[in-house]
Amino acid sequence: MFREEAGLLTGGLVRLLGDFDVAEEIVQDTLLAALERWRRDGIPDRPGAWLATAARRRAIDRLRRNARFRQKLALLEVEPAGGGEPDDRLRLIFTCCHPALSPRARVVLTLRAICGFTTAEIAGALLLSEAAVAQQIHRARRKIVEAGIPYRVPDAEELAARLDPVLAVLYLMFNEGYLSSGAGDPARRDLAEDAAWLAALLTRLLPTEPEPLGLLALMRLHLARASARFDAAGDLVLIADQDRSRWDRAAIAAAIALVERAGAMRRPGPYQLQAAIAACHAEARSWAETDWRQILVLYDLLLRLSPSPVVRMNRAVALRWVAGSTAALAELESLAAPLDGYHLFHAARAELLHELGRREEARAAEERALGLTANRAERALLERRLKLSPGAGA
């Protein structure tokens, strides 16, 4: 509910006030006041309208105190309540994810202004201190004002380039939530759900762009398998060992329809390809039935669009099932320099070394992986494997 309203409110107020800083603060204050009030008096019949009215009242108070905005007052008083066209939120997303802001600040601002997270919720979700988040918000707001970061949807010719950081923010949010779900404290707001909600919003606001659809499909494919990711003891289960009867088949089919809809636009992109790869996994009825050749083809296409070491690593992992462990390991070893600090690189290497019977090296790689991850569930999985070895991974 708050997530639906926060972006609408902020977007509407920014348009009216022409000031991101003030609008965003008012919405935060309003949401906090609403929380307190509703806890005491119960939720009003039309919470959205209640919030819009309260936010406008606060905005008017604020303007009265501030001579600079006096001329805008008249405008605000005649505007009908709840003036939040979807367009406002789209503009807001592009402001929050502007490349002039640091990647971390983009995530923080998006959570705050569009998803309506409080400072404490952001701190909890991103494992930062509240003071650090407050500082980041303060700096980012100043930069928006002082550097003149506009509140607008980019023109058609800039759109593709400007969409990239937006999608990156959403995917980062999603991963941050998805990887830690089930491992952190239950009071933490579910970042993955919020990210998927935002991606869905983006597909509605930009219906002719295929990459938001690809990203949304990718998220939904992951979420459809989410409940099988942890066993009864709350430990992480790898996809090879998951109970596939717990996957949400209807959600998988719906997500694959999204991939197809994006594909029909004939403008392939990295998120569509990653979604297609995830779809290959999701469609397989067992690990053995996975179509690795198809996955390898998709990784090759992905490498052409975004030639990163992590994509090459994932391709090497897929290569194992088509060309064997020796070929996969050789490919993986060539990535040692750029990926030495990445725990999944060492985890993947450990598995291949086990497979090839090189136990000492496998153990060393597992320890290296363990030393590199802070995530509780991932640590538990790696520790379990270390205990099980030398038989593990076979």
Binding site: A147, G148, I149, P150
Partner: protein, 116 residues
């Protein structure tokens, strides 16, 4: 809003001009000239290379110390600047992206007290 565009480049960028053929150099200068013809540009200049700079630095006691070279010793050097007046950052960034001189362009807003 007013922004200053700082045109930076490495020594290699600067040497590129030295080794260009006369016609290529002429074409390049024509492009830069066309870029500067934009009515949103309020002023600007090309600077002599950093090797010609002399720096006056005030120490902790407030006394000026004169040293040779530019104030930042590094591979990159400021080659020129332009002041532009546009609606917002995106417009300034679009101008910077169209800069024919290549290299690096820093887009810096003019201080709020000077925006006028």
């Amino acid at each position: 809003m007013k922004y200053v565009l700082l045109f930076c480049g490495t020594e290699d960028d600067a040497h590129r001009y030295d080794t260009m053929s006369a016609s290529a150099l002429e074409a390049q200068l024509a492009q830069v000239g066309a870029w500067f013809a934009d009515p949103r540009i309020r002023g600007g200049m090309r600077l002599a290379p950093g090797s010609t700079a002399t720096t006056v630095r005030f120490g902790n006691n407030g006394d000026p110390l004169v040293t040779d070279g530019p104030f930042i010793e590094g591979k990159e050097d400021i080659g020129g600047w332009a002041v532009v007046e546009v609606a917002h950052l995106d417009e300034a960034l679009a101008m910077a992206k169209a800069w024919p001189g290549k290299g690096v362009v820093e887009v810096r807003p003019v201080h709020q007290s000077e925006q006028g």
